[in-house]
Subunit: 145 residues, 4 copies
Amino acid sequence: MKPNMNQQEIAEKSSAILHQADKCARTLGIQIVEVSPGGAVVSMTVHADYANGHGYCQGGIITTLADTAFAHACNSHNEMNVAQGLSIEFVRSAKIGERLLATAVEQSNGKRTGVYQVLVTNSDDRIVAIFSGKSFSRNQAIFSD
Amino acid sequence: MKPNMNQQEIAEKSSAILHQADKCARTLGIQIVEVSPGGAVVSMTVHADYANGHGYCQGGIITTLADTAFAHACNSHNEMNVAQGLSIEFVRSAKIGERLLATAVEQSNGKRTGVYQVLVTNSDDRIVAIFSGKSFSRNQAIFSD
Amino acid sequence: MKPNMNQQEIAEKSSAILHQADKCARTLGIQIVEVSPGGAVVSMTVHADYANGHGYCQGGIITTLADTAFAHACNSHNEMNVAQGLSIEFVRSAKIGERLLATAVEQSNGKRTGVYQVLVTNSDDRIVAIFSGKSFSRNQAIFSD
Amino acid sequence: MKPNMNQQEIAEKSSAILHQADKCARTLGIQIVEVSPGGAVVSMTVHADYANGHGYCQGGIITTLADTAFAHACNSHNEMNVAQGLSIEFVRSAKIGERLLATAVEQSNGKRTGVYQVLVTNSDDRIVAIFSGKSFSRNQAIFSD
């Protein structure tokens, strides 16, 4: 990688490469709002197609949104990371049409594993879900120049 | 509800009502393979649109599949339950085109809360993910006759 | 309860009652450093008796410390809450003799359930463990006057 | 290690070495009931000193019991493993004087990480807690001859 890239530029380039290949995010209409070293903010509007049997946004789709923020955060250091596992607590239902924001922060980043928290909030800035993701490093760069 | 319905009939009717309203499951092509009192098996083929930035099925989509099995299992007693939270460990990547099966079993079903384990397996019958869902009862029937 | 008690006084009284009955905390030498509405800080020194087979503080004992902070935080509103479940990620080993601090914050507090995050740190202020606790309200006061 | 040791003998020797060094298990009175390749059963009687502020066995102590079963299971292949993290759902309170059993089974065992489920049951064989542990391999043997 260019020796003169700073951490923010590395985060942005890693994120752009990841998003370019991420069909799932595009399928769901997930947008990358911002990335930073160890952090990411992504957003999605709850489409009617995402409704579960109770009429609210399916929890797995909220998880996918949070997981996407997590992916951009844990891959922001130009080191390829995959999700080992995650947990999520659903605090408030998300209605069809609501725009959700998922904000990921790095809580720990060790040699091989990392821990990231993601808060999913609605347009009233109230918490919809609290997510924790565990990453595992592939010991491999995302880009090389 | 009809006094002469048995537990299996109740599970099937609850599941049919849930699936009928579940746009997300239909959007993703999730099929209900079978339901039983406290249990459910659902399946999904990994569409190219579900690929993450690394080219494998996005973990949130695997979570959605498992969450759907969990929803049918925890709503199988004609008592409306919602997901409080879940955790999932990703054991093996799922490739585009693979058919995944999610099998939910009830581990605990208390007055207000329940715990369900879901195993997601691939066509080789190998574990893709291990999921645990926590349900919360709305103290409300799904159907009344 | 006295009509003139403020939220901080309620938190302190709830915590004092809880700690008074908490034999486990006393057995392990856990001290309550401070409580606030929705929050708590507790501490413990890692005794040689808490070592696991690898020579570091057993993860379950770190969990007990975090769980104690969680208990004081989720019981700080004079409403009896019990732990439904918890998850914890171990980030760094804790050595015998180290003094650990567990700091709990309320992330969500609904009608019946709440979510609390606890960070366990060592004397260098580095994260040892990241804990998430889910509470369930008994709909019952802790004290009545 | 002796070329003629079978998997069961390896599990028993790994467990004996681990238990010998495990001061925490001895402090709490945890006994190793049996080990097998990938599995372990351990037991503990709830001492009055383990009571929380509500008068039942502190959840962290139940976690420590489950974590001990997990440790013996994930270290049963003569490969040193540590806990990365765990989650536990508390299903039923454990009273003072009750004898608890924790039974660990291996759900996944990859190159570096593994997933183990532990069920904690009481003397009526009812589930007290459902635990999931994530292991990380140190790529190091427990014993060499």
